[in-house]
């Protein structure tokens, strides 16, 4: 299987390294045509405003259509913002394929960025997590399964084929979160 990493801007290399550690082949994707033959797509951290401007409308629509066919996607930080159906202070989401509302930079500015460990339902305990000017999930629909919280806020969730996290598992050497996504993609691909 090949897992794609959206490479318009952001921490692309780190996701490629994490997938590599699991022995999973990866491909960086900048255009629609790069999506062919993939088993899943990771939307990395970066600046969500910049990434959304770099992805033109037809690319965003294509990603939305793809997600609706059940194609597995995993968004971290800015990637989560792109996948969320609602963004506080904004009229609409970007790709908008997971029924959550997120608050951008909810953890504050860089001076408040932090690392911690999380217990993640379905993944395990003491998973290291790096939060950088992180968004939080402020509300979610009934079909969304929250998987982890920090300080009373949801920071990871899944709705069928869409997985999102506020934090950066790719900045750590722990591969359990990526392993979970790869497992999810394999399951869906069957």
């Amino acid at each position: 299987m090949i897992v794609g990493v959206l490479a318009l801007q952001g921490a692309v290399r780190e996701h490629v390294i994490s997938l590599n550690r699991l022995g999973i082949e990866s491909r960086v994707v900048k255009r629609e045509k790069g999506l062919e033959g993939l088993s899943g797509l990771i939307l990395p951290g970066g600046e969500s405003t910049a990434i959304s401007l770099l992805a033109d409308d037809s690319f965003l629509h294509h990603l939305k259509d793809l997600a609706r066919t059940g194609f597995p996607m995993f968004g971290t930080c800015a990637g989560m913002i792109l996948l969320a159906s609602g963004i506080e202070g904004r009229d609409a989401g970007y790709i908008g394929v997971i029924d959550i509302t997120v608050s951008r930079n909810a953890s504050g500015r860089q001076v408040d960025s932090f690392e911690t460990i999380l217990d993640i339902e379905g993944i395990g305990q003491d998973v290291p997590a790096v939060f950088i000017r992180a968004p939080y999930i402020t509300s979610h629909g009934a079909s969304v399964r929250p998987m982890a919280s920090h300080d009373g806020q949801w920071v990871m969730a899944r709705q069928e084929n869409i997985l999102v996290a506020s934090f950066h598992p790719e900045l750590t050497e722990d591969t359990r979160v990526h392993e979970y996504f790869v497992g999810m993609a394999k399951e869906i691909g069957k």
Binding site: G10, K30, G46, E47, A50, S113
Partner: protein
């Protein structure tokens, strides 16, 4: 339990900026133009390097009011510059809550010998470097991101190219060298031995390295990306150009699609005049910003 200000948290923000463009801005209005054009961060400063060069005088940290106005105007990270060695300006910027501090040769140095001890701060630092020795010294002082210096405010990319090529060459040598040559290499570069070990372990500089100093066109940005930098700083190149908003957007597009010549061609059409630019040979030695803070 939360741990703030760890090196992973500091260098992590730089990782998120990769593949992006960071733009110098002097007002909240310019910051909004930069954000709308797709900048991944803005650098708040009093005067852009071209004006500092033209007007002379002592260039210092920006007025806190201005920095706060810029912070309030955008949701992307805000960086700001301090003079080399001016740790109190850095303390002030940290108290304002800026996201990154640039200890920069663009401003007039405050200390003739020493840089800021950056380990003592929660806020991450970026520093300029012309070669691997400078980069390694700044990292050992606690910098979490590097940029090649180039020659700021010139609109002339040659120095940025020179520094990026030299750094790449030196990194290749460090990686390829037999173990027994490494200590002498550290001595010759003026680089801490441990930093060279880190470079060998990572197969590259262990932090993000942007290009800066003289980038004025989309093709300049793509050139630096093809030479292997992680992202682009544009100082005077945007707001000293005829049509800043369009040029800013074009440089962002060229940075993302840096290997796509047709795309670079299409975004380069009809941009209006770039900043006029200065030949490096015409700059007196004592006015070369890159020689500050080695």
């Amino acid at each position: 339990m939360e741990k703030k200000g760890t090196y992973r948290v500091k260098s992590g923000l730089a990782e998120m900026l990769k593949g992006g463009v960071i733009m110098d801005v002097t007002t909240a209005e310019q910051a909004k133009i930069a954000e709308t054009a797709g900048a991944v961060a803005v650098m708040a400063l009093e005067r852009v390097p071209a004006d500092i060069r033209a007007q002379g005088g002592v260039a210092r940290m920006a007025d806190p009011t201005k920095v706060q106005e810029i912070m309030a105007a955008v949701t992307i990270p805000v960086m700001a510059k301090v003079r080399i060695g001016h740790f109190v300006e850095a303390q002030v910027l940290q108290s304002l809550g800026v996201d990154y501090i640039d200890e920069s040769e663009v401003l007039t140095p405050a200390d003739p010998d020493y840089h800021v001890n950056k380990w003592g701060f929660t806020i991450p630092f970026i520093c300029g470097a012309r070669n691997l020795g400078e980069a390694c010294r700044r990292l050992a002082e606690g910098a979490a991101m590097i940029r090649t210096k180039g020659e700021p405010g010139t609109g002339n990319v040659i120095e940025a190219v020179r520094h990026m090529r030299l750094m790449n060459e030196q990194i290749r040598e460090v990686i390829a060298a037999p173990q027994e040559e490494l200590m002498t290499m550290a001595k010759d570069l003026g680089a801490p031995y441990e930093m060279l070990l880190a470079i060998r372990e990572h197969g590259r500089l262990p932090v993000v390295n942007f290009a800066a100093g003289g980038i004025a066109t989309p093709a300049d940005a793509a050139l630096m990306m093809q030479l292997g930098c992680d992202g682009i700083f544009v100082g005077s190149g945007i707001f000293k150009a005829e049509d800043p908003a369009t040029r800013a957007r074009a440089i962002v597009e060229a940075t993302t699609h840096f290997e796509d010549a047709a795309k670079i061609a299409s975004v380069s059409e009809g941009l209006g005049e770039a900043m006029s630019g200065i030949a490096i040979e015409t700059i007196p030695e004592h006015e070369m910003m890159q020689n500050r803070g080695q």
